[in-house]
């Protein structure tokens, strides 16, 4: 097999070794090392219970939420290439994405669909975990992080809503921020702060843009990392237990 030989030869090079520092993961030890040795994968446990891999156990809802986040980040970065956070221009950019940018409308659709799916998945994930009793000790802090992540998801989606600067966006944000300003004492001030003024205008667009593209994603990424790390540290997913009790 020439491809295999080529791959093996590639793996034997010094450059390859310097990056991956190990051979092919053919034994359980090297497989463990593949998890340990990777800055991203080491958030995961080395071993997982077979039960927790079953689709019916989790419906992969957490995974779906996370992947939606990844897809949203990627498509979002691409969309940013053609987006100006300025009042009429933002809307014209939407039109250009639609009409002249190659695959622009597809990326925007992906971003939009993924945003909706992420909100649904995160909610469903939370309900599912609740019914599974996943909030019980020792997972209580991870549950709290999850609740915060839910709020972040909503905020991410909500701040993204304004960016196309169309009627839908404008009035959804107007209505939404007016709900916020009904809070006692701090409400109007909070709205003023969020919008950067009294009206949904250029300032609001810029603030929502920064929140949507920088602050909230960074925060979410951080908390997602903690969330994953915590699953491992709290002893894996809470699956199989209610089944066990039913037996």
């Amino acid at each position: 097999m020439t491809t295999e030989e080529m791959l093996n030869r590639l793996r034997a090079t010094r450059a390859w070794m310097s990056i991956f520092r190990r051979g092919p993961a053919r034994t359980n030890r090297t497989r463990s090392l593949a998890i340990f040795g990777n800055v991203f994968l080491h958030l995961l446990p080395v071993k997982v219970r077979e039960q927790s891999l079953r689709v019916r156990a989790t419906y992969y809802l957490g995974t779906i939420s996370f992947f939606m986040f990844v897809v949203l980040t990627l498509t979002g970065i691409f969309l940013m290439f053609y987006y100006h956070p300025a009042a009429p221009q933002a809307y014209l950019d939407m039109k250009d994405l639609r009409f002249v940018v190659s695959n622009g409308v597809f990326l925007r659709n992906m971003h939009r669909v993924a945003a909706h799916i992420m909100v649904i998945a995160v909610f469903w994930h939370m309900f599912h975990v609740f019914y599974r009793g996943g909030y019980r000790p020792p997972h209580e802090f991870n549950w709290a992080i999850g609740v915060v992540l839910l709020l972040l998801t909503l905020l991410l989606s909500y701040t993204g809503y304004l960016l196309p600067w169309d009627q839908l966006a404008f009035w959804a944000i107007t209505v939404g921020t007016n709900i916020l300003s009904s809070a006692p004492f701090v409400g109007p001030q909070l709205r003023y702060l969020l919008l950067g003024g009294n009206l949904v205008g250029e300032n609001a667009l810029l603030r929502f843009y920064v929140l949507h593209c920088v602050i909230l994603p960074l925060l979410a990424a951080l908390l997602i990392a903690v969330h994953f790390w915590r699953i491992r540290k709290d002893g894996g997913l809470t699956v199989g237990e209610s089944n066990e009790r039913d037996k």
Partner: protein
């Protein structure tokens, strides 16, 4: 096998009563003997990785298909002088907006959602019913009375505000709860299932039912002036 999973370490300062770490439940029906878990352990790499990769692909396929057939909405350029009727928030806030239709902004916009968020965060820190005992398991009549009383109060409150879209799912869930109270001679599987549910399950189900109803109503059944419209008309 499960040496890492359910390991219970009693630290020097740990107090099992204050912060219980579950080891195992001993109920009258089960013995205290520790059984080995039936589940096997698999290497995350490649089992988890591959499955997640497949999940990612399937999800992306679905996403792409939807993105190909459904275009993200784009309406007219924002015009502060022209309010669409009805002006709606994003769909996940339409439940809130529906609440705002009934209750004063302070209640619907802040108190209720704030209460929900706080409740969700603090759930695990109240060690109520840690065993997940069915709601009617003990103290049946007293619990039933207090249940009827609190639901009744809630319904009166909702009725006063004419919050029908909250009231209906509340009545439905309360009805199911009451059904599960009575012991039937030949209980249906569903009834049996309901009878074994703990209080937390019922509260959550009620919350989901209300939230879902509100969101669906707000999204599809509300027209100009937040009046009731049929989506197919």
């Amino acid at each position: 096998m499960s040496e890492t999973n359910n390991k219970f370490e009693a630290g020097i300062k740990s107090n099992a009563l204050k912060a219980p770490q579950r080891v195992v439940f001993i109920t009258p029906k089960t013995s205290a003997q520790v059984k080995e878990r039936s589940d096997r352990q698999l290497m995350s790499y490649p089992h988890l990785m591959l499955r997640e990769l497949i999940a990612f692909e399937v999800l992306t396929i679905l996403l792409v298909v939807v993105a190909l057939v459904w275009d993200a909405p784009l309406e007219q350029l924002a015009n502060p002088l022209l309010t669409p009727n009805p002006a709606k928030a994003p769909w996940y806030f339409l439940g809130l907006q529906e609440l705002l239709h009934y209750f004063p902004p302070l209640v619907a916009g802040i108190v209720i959602p704030g209460f929900v968020v706080v409740a969700l965060v603090v759930i695990p820190y109240f060690n109520v019913n840690i065993k997940g005992e069915p709601v009617w398991a003990a103290d049946r009549s007293r619990r039933f009375l207090s249940f009827i009383a609190s639901v009744g109060l809630l319904l009166v409150f909702l009725g006063l505000y004419r919050a029908w879209t909250v009231l209906v799912p509340t009545v439905a869930i309360a009805g199911l709860t009451i059904v599960s109270f009575f012991q039937l001679k030949r209980p249906h599987r569903l009834i049996t299932f309901l009878q074994t549910r703990p209080l937390s399950w019922w509260v959550m189900t009620w919350f989901i039912a209300v939230a879902l109803t509100l969101t669906v109503v707000g999204t599809f059944f509300r027209g100009p002036g937040w009046s009731w419209v049929w989506p197919w008309r």
